[in-house]
Protein backbone atom coordinates (compact mmCIF):
# COMPACT_ATOMS: atom_id res chain seq x y z
CA UNK A 1 0.00 0.00 0.00
CA UNK A 2 1.27 3.45 -0.84
CA UNK A 3 1.89 6.12 1.79
CA UNK A 4 -1.08 8.42 2.40
CA UNK A 5 -0.51 12.08 1.53
CA UNK A 6 -2.02 13.22 4.81
CA UNK A 7 -1.87 10.92 7.81
CA UNK A 8 -3.44 12.08 11.06
CA UNK A 9 -2.63 9.89 14.07
CA UNK A 10 -4.21 10.31 17.46
CA UNK A 11 -4.34 14.08 17.26
CA UNK A 12 -5.70 15.98 20.25
CA UNK A 13 -6.23 19.67 20.75
CA UNK A 14 -7.72 21.65 23.61
CA UNK A 15 -8.33 25.37 23.94
CA UNK A 16 -7.97 25.90 27.67
CA UNK A 17 -10.39 23.50 29.32
CA UNK A 18 -12.24 22.81 26.10
CA UNK A 19 -11.11 19.64 24.34
CA UNK A 20 -11.91 20.21 20.69
CA UNK A 21 -10.12 17.20 19.18
CA UNK A 22 -10.00 14.07 21.31
CA UNK A 23 -7.87 11.73 19.29
CA UNK A 24 -8.40 11.93 15.55
CA UNK A 25 -7.14 9.25 13.14
CA UNK A 26 -7.57 9.78 9.44
CA UNK A 27 -5.50 9.09 6.34
CA UNK A 28 -6.07 10.73 2.97
CA UNK A 29 -4.57 8.93 -0.01
CA UNK A 30 -3.16 10.48 -3.12
CA UNK A 31 -5.89 11.71 -5.53
CA UNK A 32 -8.48 11.12 -2.85
CA UNK A 33 -11.01 13.69 -1.67
CA UNK A 34 -12.32 13.32 1.85
CA UNK A 35 -15.16 15.46 3.17
CA UNK A 36 -15.44 16.35 6.84
CA UNK A 37 -18.94 16.93 8.11
CA UNK A 38 -20.21 17.71 11.58
CA UNK A 39 -22.10 20.26 13.61
CA UNK A 40 -20.83 23.79 14.06
CA UNK A 41 -18.09 23.74 16.68
CA UNK A 42 -17.29 20.06 16.15
CA UNK A 43 -13.69 20.93 15.28
CA UNK A 44 -13.57 20.77 11.46
CA UNK A 45 -11.72 24.05 11.06
CA UNK A 46 -9.43 23.27 13.96
CA UNK A 47 -8.38 19.97 12.38
CA UNK A 48 -7.64 21.60 9.02
CA UNK A 49 -5.71 24.40 10.71
CA UNK A 50 -3.66 21.86 12.65
CA UNK A 51 -2.66 20.14 9.40
CA UNK A 52 -1.49 23.48 7.95
CA UNK A 53 0.32 24.25 11.24
CA UNK A 54 -1.74 27.38 11.79
CA UNK A 55 -2.79 25.85 15.11
CA UNK A 56 -0.48 23.74 17.25
CA UNK A 57 -1.65 20.27 18.24
CA UNK A 58 -1.34 18.98 21.82
CA UNK A 59 -0.67 15.33 21.16
CA UNK A 60 -0.42 12.80 18.33
CA UNK A 61 1.25 13.21 14.96
CA UNK A 62 0.41 14.50 11.53
CA UNK A 63 2.39 13.20 8.58
CA UNK A 64 2.70 14.62 5.10
CA UNK A 65 3.92 12.06 2.57
CA UNK A 66 5.15 9.95 5.43
CA UNK A 67 7.10 12.70 7.18
CA UNK A 68 6.04 13.99 10.57
CA UNK A 69 5.16 17.69 10.30
CA UNK A 70 4.03 18.40 13.83
CA UNK A 71 7.38 17.99 15.58
CA UNK A 72 8.59 21.26 17.06
CA UNK A 73 11.86 20.77 15.17
CA UNK A 74 10.12 20.87 11.77
CA UNK A 75 10.07 24.22 9.98
CA UNK A 76 6.38 25.03 9.44
CA UNK A 77 7.13 27.17 6.39
CA UNK A 78 8.42 24.17 4.45
CA UNK A 79 5.33 22.16 5.38
CA UNK A 80 2.89 24.89 4.39
CA UNK A 81 4.60 25.23 1.01
CA UNK A 82 3.34 21.74 0.22
CA UNK A 83 -0.24 22.47 1.22
CA UNK A 84 -2.94 24.77 -0.11
CA UNK A 85 -5.48 26.27 2.29
CA UNK A 86 -8.76 27.93 1.32
CA UNK A 87 -10.47 29.91 4.06
CA UNK A 88 -14.17 30.28 4.67
CA UNK A 89 -13.80 34.08 4.54
CA UNK A 90 -11.50 34.12 1.44
CA UNK A 91 -8.80 36.24 3.15
CA UNK A 92 -7.61 37.67 -0.16
CA UNK A 93 -4.94 40.36 0.08
CA UNK A 94 -6.85 43.61 -0.46
CA UNK A 95 -3.80 45.67 -1.41
CA UNK A 96 -2.91 43.35 -4.29
CA UNK A 97 -4.85 42.75 -7.46
CA UNK A 98 -6.24 39.38 -8.42
CA UNK A 99 -3.23 38.05 -10.27
CA UNK A 100 -0.81 39.34 -7.62
CA UNK A 101 -2.86 37.52 -5.00
CA UNK A 102 -2.24 34.31 -6.91
CA UNK A 103 1.45 34.89 -7.64
CA UNK A 104 2.63 36.14 -4.24
CA UNK A 105 3.23 32.69 -2.80
CA UNK A 106 4.47 31.29 -6.10
CA UNK A 107 7.19 33.92 -6.45
CA UNK A 108 8.10 34.57 -2.82
CA UNK A 109 7.76 31.08 -1.37
CA UNK A 110 8.64 28.97 -4.39
CA UNK A 111 11.14 31.24 -6.12
CA UNK A 112 9.42 31.08 -9.50
CA UNK A 113 10.15 34.02 -11.82
CA UNK A 114 7.60 36.85 -12.00
CA UNK A 115 6.71 36.35 -15.67
CA UNK A 116 6.34 32.61 -15.45
CA UNK A 117 4.26 32.89 -12.28
CA UNK A 118 2.03 35.49 -13.86
CA UNK A 119 1.48 33.44 -16.97
CA UNK A 120 0.49 30.34 -15.08
CA UNK A 121 -1.66 32.37 -12.68
CA UNK A 122 -3.59 33.84 -15.59
CA UNK A 123 -4.12 30.33 -16.95
CA UNK A 124 -5.45 29.05 -13.62
CA UNK A 125 -7.70 32.09 -13.18
CA UNK A 126 -9.06 31.54 -16.66
CA UNK A 127 -9.81 27.97 -15.83
CA UNK A 128 -11.93 29.13 -12.88
CA UNK A 129 -13.86 31.57 -15.06
CA UNK A 130 -11.95 34.70 -14.05
CA UNK A 131 -10.41 35.74 -17.36
CA UNK A 132 -10.27 39.48 -17.76
CA UNK A 133 -10.43 40.12 -14.01
CA UNK A 134 -6.69 39.78 -13.41
CA UNK A 135 -5.99 43.44 -12.69
CA UNK A 136 -8.98 44.07 -10.44
CA UNK A 137 -8.90 44.53 -6.71
CA UNK A 138 -10.56 41.73 -4.75
CA UNK A 139 -13.17 44.09 -3.27
CA UNK A 140 -14.55 44.72 -6.76
CA UNK A 141 -15.42 41.05 -7.18
CA UNK A 142 -18.44 39.13 -5.95
CA UNK A 143 -18.02 36.70 -3.09
CA UNK A 144 -18.10 33.76 -5.46
CA UNK A 145 -15.41 35.30 -7.63
CA UNK A 146 -13.28 36.12 -4.60
CA UNK A 147 -13.46 32.57 -3.36
CA UNK A 148 -12.48 31.28 -6.80
CA UNK A 149 -9.45 33.57 -6.69
CA UNK A 150 -8.64 32.13 -3.26
CA UNK A 151 -8.87 28.61 -4.66
CA UNK A 152 -6.61 29.63 -7.55
CA UNK A 153 -4.16 31.15 -5.06
CA UNK A 154 -4.00 27.95 -3.02
CA UNK A 155 -3.72 25.75 -6.10
CA UNK A 156 -1.15 27.86 -7.98
CA UNK A 157 1.74 26.34 -6.04
CA UNK A 158 0.61 22.82 -7.05
CA UNK A 159 0.38 21.66 -3.44
CA UNK A 160 0.49 18.00 -2.44
CA UNK A 161 -2.94 18.48 -0.90
CA UNK A 162 -5.61 21.15 -0.63
CA UNK A 163 -7.41 21.94 2.62
CA UNK A 164 -10.80 23.54 2.03
CA UNK A 165 -12.59 25.03 5.02
CA UNK A 166 -16.29 25.54 4.29
CA UNK A 167 -15.48 27.44 1.16
CA UNK A 168 -19.11 28.21 0.39
CA UNK A 169 -20.46 29.08 3.84
CA UNK A 170 -19.89 32.82 3.48
CA UNK A 171 -21.61 32.99 0.09
CA UNK A 172 -25.08 33.91 -1.06
CA UNK A 173 -26.88 30.75 -2.22
CA UNK A 174 -26.77 31.73 -5.89
CA UNK A 175 -22.96 31.97 -5.78
CA UNK A 176 -22.35 28.56 -4.21
CA UNK A 177 -22.55 26.67 -7.49
CA UNK A 178 -19.68 28.45 -9.24
CA UNK A 179 -17.31 27.83 -6.34
CA UNK A 180 -18.27 24.18 -6.07
CA UNK A 181 -17.64 23.87 -9.81
CA UNK A 182 -14.06 25.03 -9.21
CA UNK A 183 -13.58 22.38 -6.53
CA UNK A 184 -15.09 19.75 -8.81
CA UNK A 185 -12.58 20.83 -11.43
CA UNK A 186 -9.73 20.17 -9.00
CA UNK A 187 -11.16 16.80 -8.14
CA UNK A 188 -11.27 15.83 -11.80
CA UNK A 189 -7.60 16.68 -12.03
CA UNK A 190 -6.95 14.27 -9.19
CA UNK A 191 -5.98 16.83 -6.55
CA UNK A 192 -5.81 15.34 -3.05
CA UNK A 193 -8.28 17.20 -0.86
CA UNK A 194 -9.64 17.40 2.64
CA UNK A 195 -12.87 19.37 2.56
CA UNK A 196 -14.83 20.65 5.56
CA UNK A 197 -18.35 21.27 4.33
CA UNK A 198 -22.02 21.64 5.15
CA UNK A 199 -23.06 20.83 1.58
CA UNK A 200 -24.10 17.18 1.75
CA UNK A 201 -25.00 16.91 -1.91
CA UNK A 202 -21.60 18.23 -2.84
CA UNK A 203 -19.84 15.94 -0.39
CA UNK A 204 -21.53 12.95 -1.95
CA UNK A 205 -20.68 14.04 -5.46
CA UNK A 206 -17.05 15.09 -5.05
CA UNK A 207 -15.74 13.22 -2.03
CA UNK A 208 -14.62 9.63 -2.20
CA UNK A 209 -15.10 9.29 1.51
CA UNK A 210 -16.91 11.26 4.17
CA UNK A 211 -15.97 11.54 7.84
CA UNK A 212 -18.36 12.62 10.56
CA UNK A 213 -16.83 14.68 13.39
CA UNK A 214 -18.80 14.55 16.60
CA UNK A 215 -17.78 15.88 20.02
CA UNK A 216 -14.09 15.86 19.18
CA UNK A 217 -14.01 12.41 17.62
CA UNK A 218 -14.20 11.13 14.08
CA UNK A 219 -17.23 9.01 14.82
CA UNK A 220 -17.35 7.26 11.48
CA UNK A 221 -15.65 7.42 8.13
CA UNK A 222 -16.89 5.66 5.04
CA UNK A 223 -17.52 5.84 1.31
CA UNK A 224 -19.65 8.93 0.66
CA UNK A 225 -22.75 7.11 -0.52
CA UNK A 226 -22.71 4.65 2.33
CA UNK A 227 -22.08 7.21 5.06
CA UNK A 228 -24.66 9.69 3.84
CA UNK A 229 -27.35 7.10 2.91
CA UNK A 230 -26.92 4.49 5.59
CA UNK A 231 -24.72 5.63 8.44
CA UNK A 232 -23.92 3.05 11.10
CA UNK A 233 -23.92 5.45 14.04
CA UNK A 234 -27.05 6.86 15.59
CA UNK A 235 -25.41 10.28 16.06
CA UNK A 236 -24.59 10.50 12.35
CA UNK A 237 -28.17 9.61 11.47
CA UNK A 238 -29.45 12.29 13.84
CA UNK A 239 -27.10 14.92 12.40
CA UNK A 240 -28.11 14.14 8.82
CA UNK A 241 -31.79 14.09 9.70
CA UNK A 242 -31.55 17.47 11.43
CA UNK A 243 -29.77 18.87 8.38
CA UNK A 244 -32.52 17.56 6.10
CA UNK A 245 -35.24 19.01 8.32
CA UNK A 246 -33.49 22.39 8.37
CA UNK A 247 -33.34 22.33 4.58
CA UNK A 248 -37.07 21.65 4.31
CA UNK A 249 -38.15 24.64 6.43
Amino acid sequence: MSTPVIDIRGVTKAFGEREVLKGIDLAVDEHEAVALIGASGSGKSTLLRCIDLLTEIDDGDILLDGEVTTDPSVDPVGVRRNLGFVFQSFNLFPHLNVVENVTLGVTRAHGIGKDEARESAIAILGRFGLEGREEERPRNLSGGQQQRVAIARAFATRPRAMLLDEVTSALDPELVGEVLAAVRDLKEEGVTMLIATHEMGFAREVADRVGFLHEGRLLEVGPSEQLLEGPREEATRKFLRRLLDARRV
Binding site: V77, R80, F87, G105, R108, A109, N140, S142, A154, T157
Partner: protein, 288 residues
Protein backbone atom coordinates in the same frame (compact mmCIF):
# COMPACT_ATOMS: atom_id res chain seq x y z
CA UNK B 1 -22.18 45.93 -5.71
CA UNK B 2 -22.28 46.93 -9.35
CA UNK B 3 -25.99 46.23 -9.75
CA UNK B 4 -27.50 49.76 -9.82
CA UNK B 5 -26.26 50.60 -13.33
CA UNK B 6 -27.94 47.71 -15.03
CA UNK B 7 -31.03 48.39 -12.92
CA UNK B 8 -31.53 51.94 -14.15
CA UNK B 9 -30.91 50.90 -17.75
CA UNK B 10 -33.70 48.40 -17.50
CA UNK B 11 -36.07 51.02 -16.10
CA UNK B 12 -35.07 53.46 -18.83
CA UNK B 13 -35.70 50.84 -21.47
CA UNK B 14 -39.11 49.92 -20.15
CA UNK B 15 -40.42 53.45 -19.59
CA UNK B 16 -39.16 55.91 -22.25
CA UNK B 17 -40.39 58.98 -20.29
CA UNK B 18 -37.54 58.52 -17.81
CA UNK B 19 -35.13 60.35 -20.11
CA UNK B 20 -37.09 63.58 -19.64
CA UNK B 21 -37.42 62.90 -15.97
CA UNK B 22 -33.66 62.53 -15.72
CA UNK B 23 -33.09 65.91 -17.39
CA UNK B 24 -35.67 67.49 -15.09
CA UNK B 25 -34.02 66.05 -12.04
CA UNK B 26 -30.57 67.24 -13.18
CA UNK B 27 -31.91 70.77 -13.76
CA UNK B 28 -33.53 70.81 -10.33
CA UNK B 29 -30.26 69.64 -8.78
CA UNK B 30 -28.32 72.42 -10.56
CA UNK B 31 -30.75 75.05 -9.35
CA UNK B 32 -30.43 73.72 -5.82
CA UNK B 33 -26.62 73.81 -6.06
CA UNK B 34 -26.72 77.44 -7.28
CA UNK B 35 -28.97 78.46 -4.41
CA UNK B 36 -26.61 76.71 -1.99
CA UNK B 37 -23.56 78.57 -3.29
CA UNK B 38 -25.37 81.91 -3.09
CA UNK B 39 -26.47 81.35 0.51
CA UNK B 40 -22.96 80.26 1.51
CA UNK B 41 -21.38 83.35 -0.09
CA UNK B 42 -23.77 85.78 1.53
CA UNK B 43 -23.45 84.27 4.99
CA UNK B 44 -19.66 84.25 4.71
CA UNK B 45 -19.58 87.94 3.78
CA UNK B 46 -21.91 88.82 6.64
CA UNK B 47 -19.88 86.90 9.25
CA UNK B 48 -16.47 88.08 8.05
CA UNK B 49 -17.75 91.65 7.75
CA UNK B 50 -19.09 91.58 11.31
CA UNK B 51 -15.80 90.19 12.67
CA UNK B 52 -13.75 92.80 10.79
CA UNK B 53 -16.00 95.61 11.96
CA UNK B 54 -15.71 94.36 15.55
CA UNK B 55 -11.90 94.27 15.32
CA UNK B 56 -11.23 97.60 13.63
CA UNK B 57 -13.68 99.50 15.85
CA UNK B 58 -12.14 98.09 19.04
CA UNK B 59 -10.34 100.57 21.31
CA UNK B 60 -6.92 98.95 20.93
CA UNK B 61 -7.04 98.44 17.17
CA UNK B 62 -4.89 101.41 16.12
CA UNK B 63 -1.97 100.30 18.29
CA UNK B 64 -2.35 96.61 17.35
CA UNK B 65 -2.43 97.58 13.70
CA UNK B 66 0.77 99.53 14.12
CA UNK B 67 2.55 96.78 16.08
CA UNK B 68 1.49 93.77 14.03
CA UNK B 69 0.54 94.96 10.57
CA UNK B 70 3.26 97.39 9.59
CA UNK B 71 3.70 97.00 5.86
CA UNK B 72 7.09 98.72 5.73
CA UNK B 73 8.52 96.51 8.45
CA UNK B 74 7.07 93.49 6.68
CA UNK B 75 8.73 94.34 3.37
CA UNK B 76 11.96 95.06 5.21
CA UNK B 77 12.22 91.88 7.23
CA UNK B 78 10.41 89.24 5.18
CA UNK B 79 13.25 88.33 2.77
CA UNK B 80 15.60 87.41 5.65
CA UNK B 81 12.90 85.35 7.36
CA UNK B 82 12.05 83.58 4.12
CA UNK B 83 15.74 82.73 3.62
CA UNK B 84 15.89 81.42 7.17
CA UNK B 85 12.81 79.32 6.50
CA UNK B 86 14.89 77.20 4.13
CA UNK B 87 16.68 75.83 7.21
CA UNK B 88 13.29 74.93 8.72
CA UNK B 89 12.44 72.97 5.61
CA UNK B 90 15.72 71.09 5.60
CA UNK B 91 15.39 70.25 9.29
CA UNK B 92 11.80 69.18 8.75
CA UNK B 93 12.59 66.86 5.85
CA UNK B 94 15.57 65.27 7.61
CA UNK B 95 13.72 64.81 10.88
CA UNK B 96 10.65 63.45 9.13
CA UNK B 97 12.65 60.75 7.37
CA UNK B 98 14.41 59.84 10.62
CA UNK B 99 11.05 59.76 12.43
CA UNK B 100 9.49 57.43 9.84
CA UNK B 101 12.39 55.00 10.15
CA UNK B 102 12.71 55.17 13.94
CA UNK B 103 8.96 54.85 14.44
CA UNK B 104 8.76 51.85 12.14
CA UNK B 105 11.61 50.04 13.87
CA UNK B 106 10.15 50.69 17.31
CA UNK B 107 6.69 49.54 16.19
CA UNK B 108 8.04 46.37 14.57
CA UNK B 109 10.03 45.52 17.70
CA UNK B 110 6.93 46.05 19.81
CA UNK B 111 4.73 43.69 17.80
CA UNK B 112 7.21 40.79 17.59
CA UNK B 113 6.59 37.84 19.87
CA UNK B 114 10.00 36.19 19.75
CA UNK B 115 11.41 35.67 23.28
CA UNK B 116 14.89 36.69 22.09
CA UNK B 117 13.60 40.18 21.41
CA UNK B 118 12.12 40.66 24.87
CA UNK B 119 14.74 43.27 25.92
CA UNK B 120 14.07 45.12 22.68
CA UNK B 121 10.34 45.12 23.39
CA UNK B 122 10.99 46.44 26.87
CA UNK B 123 13.18 49.27 25.60
CA UNK B 124 10.70 50.10 22.83
CA UNK B 125 7.85 50.16 25.34
CA UNK B 126 9.80 52.38 27.74
CA UNK B 127 10.77 54.70 24.92
CA UNK B 128 7.27 55.25 23.58
CA UNK B 129 5.82 55.65 27.04
CA UNK B 130 8.43 58.15 28.23
CA UNK B 131 8.87 60.25 25.13
CA UNK B 132 5.19 60.59 24.40
CA UNK B 133 4.70 61.79 27.95
CA UNK B 134 7.29 64.58 27.85
CA UNK B 135 6.34 67.86 26.14
CA UNK B 136 8.36 68.36 22.96
CA UNK B 137 9.58 71.77 24.11
CA UNK B 138 11.02 70.21 27.27
CA UNK B 139 12.80 67.54 25.24
CA UNK B 140 14.35 70.20 23.04
CA UNK B 141 15.73 71.89 26.15
CA UNK B 142 16.91 68.63 27.73
CA UNK B 143 18.71 67.39 24.63
CA UNK B 144 19.88 70.83 23.52
CA UNK B 145 21.54 71.73 26.80
CA UNK B 146 21.90 68.32 28.45
CA UNK B 147 24.00 66.52 25.85
CA UNK B 148 26.65 69.26 25.46
CA UNK B 149 26.66 69.44 29.26
CA UNK B 150 27.90 65.84 29.42
CA UNK B 151 31.08 67.00 27.70
CA UNK B 152 31.58 63.60 26.09
CA UNK B 153 33.70 63.58 22.98
CA UNK B 154 31.99 62.33 19.86
CA UNK B 155 28.55 63.61 20.79
CA UNK B 156 27.21 66.40 18.61
CA UNK B 157 27.18 69.91 20.02
CA UNK B 158 25.65 71.75 17.06
CA UNK B 159 22.33 73.18 18.27
CA UNK B 160 20.60 72.41 15.00
CA UNK B 161 21.60 68.73 15.18
CA UNK B 162 20.63 68.47 18.84
CA UNK B 163 17.31 70.11 18.07
CA UNK B 164 16.77 67.65 15.24
CA UNK B 165 17.53 64.74 17.57
CA UNK B 166 15.08 66.03 20.15
CA UNK B 167 12.33 66.41 17.55
CA UNK B 168 13.09 62.95 16.16
CA UNK B 169 12.88 61.33 19.59
CA UNK B 170 9.66 63.11 20.42
CA UNK B 171 7.87 62.48 17.13
CA UNK B 172 9.36 58.99 16.74
CA UNK B 173 7.45 57.91 19.83
CA UNK B 174 4.16 59.19 18.44
CA UNK B 175 4.71 57.74 15.00
CA UNK B 176 5.72 54.36 16.47
CA UNK B 177 2.33 54.21 18.15
CA UNK B 178 0.57 55.19 14.94
CA UNK B 179 2.36 52.42 13.06
CA UNK B 180 1.58 49.95 15.82
CA UNK B 181 -2.11 50.76 15.71
CA UNK B 182 -1.92 50.20 11.94
CA UNK B 183 -0.22 46.83 12.35
CA UNK B 184 -2.86 45.75 14.81
CA UNK B 185 -5.67 46.88 12.54
CA UNK B 186 -4.71 44.33 9.88
CA UNK B 187 -7.03 41.34 10.21
CA UNK B 188 -5.31 38.21 11.61
CA UNK B 189 -6.75 36.30 8.64
CA UNK B 190 -4.34 38.23 6.41
CA UNK B 191 -1.32 36.95 8.28
CA UNK B 192 -2.69 33.41 8.20
CA UNK B 193 -3.41 33.57 4.49
CA UNK B 194 0.15 34.72 3.83
CA UNK B 195 1.61 31.96 6.00
CA UNK B 196 -0.67 29.43 4.32
CA UNK B 197 0.69 30.62 0.96
CA UNK B 198 4.12 29.52 2.18
CA UNK B 199 5.58 32.89 3.14
CA UNK B 200 7.97 33.19 6.08
CA UNK B 201 7.09 35.43 9.04
CA UNK B 202 9.32 38.19 7.65
CA UNK B 203 7.86 37.92 4.15
CA UNK B 204 4.38 37.99 5.66
CA UNK B 205 5.18 41.19 7.53
CA UNK B 206 6.88 42.82 4.55
CA UNK B 207 4.53 41.89 1.73
CA UNK B 208 1.15 41.51 3.41
CA UNK B 209 0.82 43.07 6.87
CA UNK B 210 3.02 46.16 6.61
CA UNK B 211 1.66 47.48 3.29
CA UNK B 212 -1.87 47.27 4.66
CA UNK B 213 -0.87 48.82 7.98
CA UNK B 214 0.83 51.78 6.28
CA UNK B 215 -2.17 52.33 4.03
CA UNK B 216 -4.39 52.35 7.07
CA UNK B 217 -2.35 54.94 8.95
CA UNK B 218 -1.44 57.24 6.06
CA UNK B 219 -3.77 60.08 7.15
CA UNK B 220 -2.77 60.09 10.86
CA UNK B 221 0.90 59.98 9.81
CA UNK B 222 0.44 63.01 7.56
CA UNK B 223 -1.29 64.74 10.43
CA UNK B 224 1.83 64.26 12.54
CA UNK B 225 3.92 65.64 9.66
CA UNK B 226 1.95 68.85 9.77
CA UNK B 227 2.44 69.13 13.52
CA UNK B 228 6.17 68.52 13.08
CA UNK B 229 6.46 71.25 10.46
CA UNK B 230 5.28 73.75 13.04
CA UNK B 231 7.34 72.34 15.88
CA UNK B 232 10.57 72.82 13.95
CA UNK B 233 10.28 76.40 15.26
CA UNK B 234 11.03 75.02 18.73
CA UNK B 235 14.70 74.55 17.91
CA UNK B 236 14.99 78.34 18.05
CA UNK B 237 14.93 78.14 21.83
CA UNK B 238 18.29 76.37 22.07
CA UNK B 239 19.97 79.01 20.00
CA UNK B 240 19.74 77.69 16.47
CA UNK B 241 20.51 80.72 14.35
CA UNK B 242 19.20 81.22 10.86
CA UNK B 243 15.89 79.53 11.61
CA UNK B 244 12.73 81.35 10.56
CA UNK B 245 11.13 81.86 13.97
CA UNK B 246 14.47 82.89 15.51
CA UNK B 247 15.07 85.27 12.62
CA UNK B 248 11.62 86.77 13.14
CA UNK B 249 12.31 87.20 16.86
CA UNK B 250 15.53 89.07 16.10
CA UNK B 251 13.77 91.28 13.59
CA UNK B 252 11.05 91.95 16.16
CA UNK B 253 13.60 93.26 18.63
CA UNK B 254 15.40 95.29 15.96
CA UNK B 255 12.22 97.06 14.86
CA UNK B 256 10.24 97.23 18.14
CA UNK B 257 7.47 95.72 16.07
CA UNK B 258 5.77 92.30 15.90
CA UNK B 259 5.11 92.26 12.18
CA UNK B 260 8.10 89.93 11.47
CA UNK B 261 6.35 87.23 13.51
CA UNK B 262 3.39 87.54 11.18
CA UNK B 263 5.76 87.03 8.25
CA UNK B 264 7.07 83.83 9.84
CA UNK B 265 3.50 82.65 10.49
CA UNK B 266 2.67 83.16 6.82
CA UNK B 267 5.65 81.00 5.82
CA UNK B 268 4.56 78.15 8.08
CA UNK B 269 1.02 78.41 6.73
CA UNK B 270 2.35 78.35 3.17
CA UNK B 271 3.57 74.82 3.86
CA UNK B 272 1.01 73.44 6.29
CA UNK B 273 -2.13 74.53 4.43
CA UNK B 274 -1.24 72.76 1.16
CA UNK B 275 -0.30 69.68 3.20
CA UNK B 276 -3.61 69.73 5.02
CA UNK B 277 -5.40 70.15 1.70
CA UNK B 278 -3.54 67.20 0.16
CA UNK B 279 -4.32 65.12 3.23
CA UNK B 280 -7.99 65.93 2.95
CA UNK B 281 -8.06 65.04 -0.73
CA UNK B 282 -6.15 61.85 -0.16
CA UNK B 283 -8.50 60.77 2.63
CA UNK B 284 -11.49 61.41 0.44
CA UNK B 285 -10.07 59.49 -2.52
CA UNK B 286 -9.53 56.49 -0.26
CA UNK B 287 -13.21 56.23 0.61
CA UNK B 288 -14.27 55.31 -2.92
Amino acid sequence: MDAPETGSEQVAGAVPVTVDRRAERAAAQRAKDRRGTLVATISTIVVLGALTALTVTSAGWPSVKEKFFDWDVFVDTFPDIARAFWLDIRVFVTVEIAVLILGLIVALVRVTTSPALFPGRLIAFAYTTLFRGIPTILLVYLVGFGIPGLQLTGLPTEPVILGGIALTLSYGAYVAEVYRAGLRSVHPGQREAALAAGLTEQQTMRHVVLPQAIRAVGPPLLNDFIALQKDVALIAIIGVTGEAFRQAQIATLDNFNYTPLLGAALLYLAVTIPCAYLLERWERSRDD
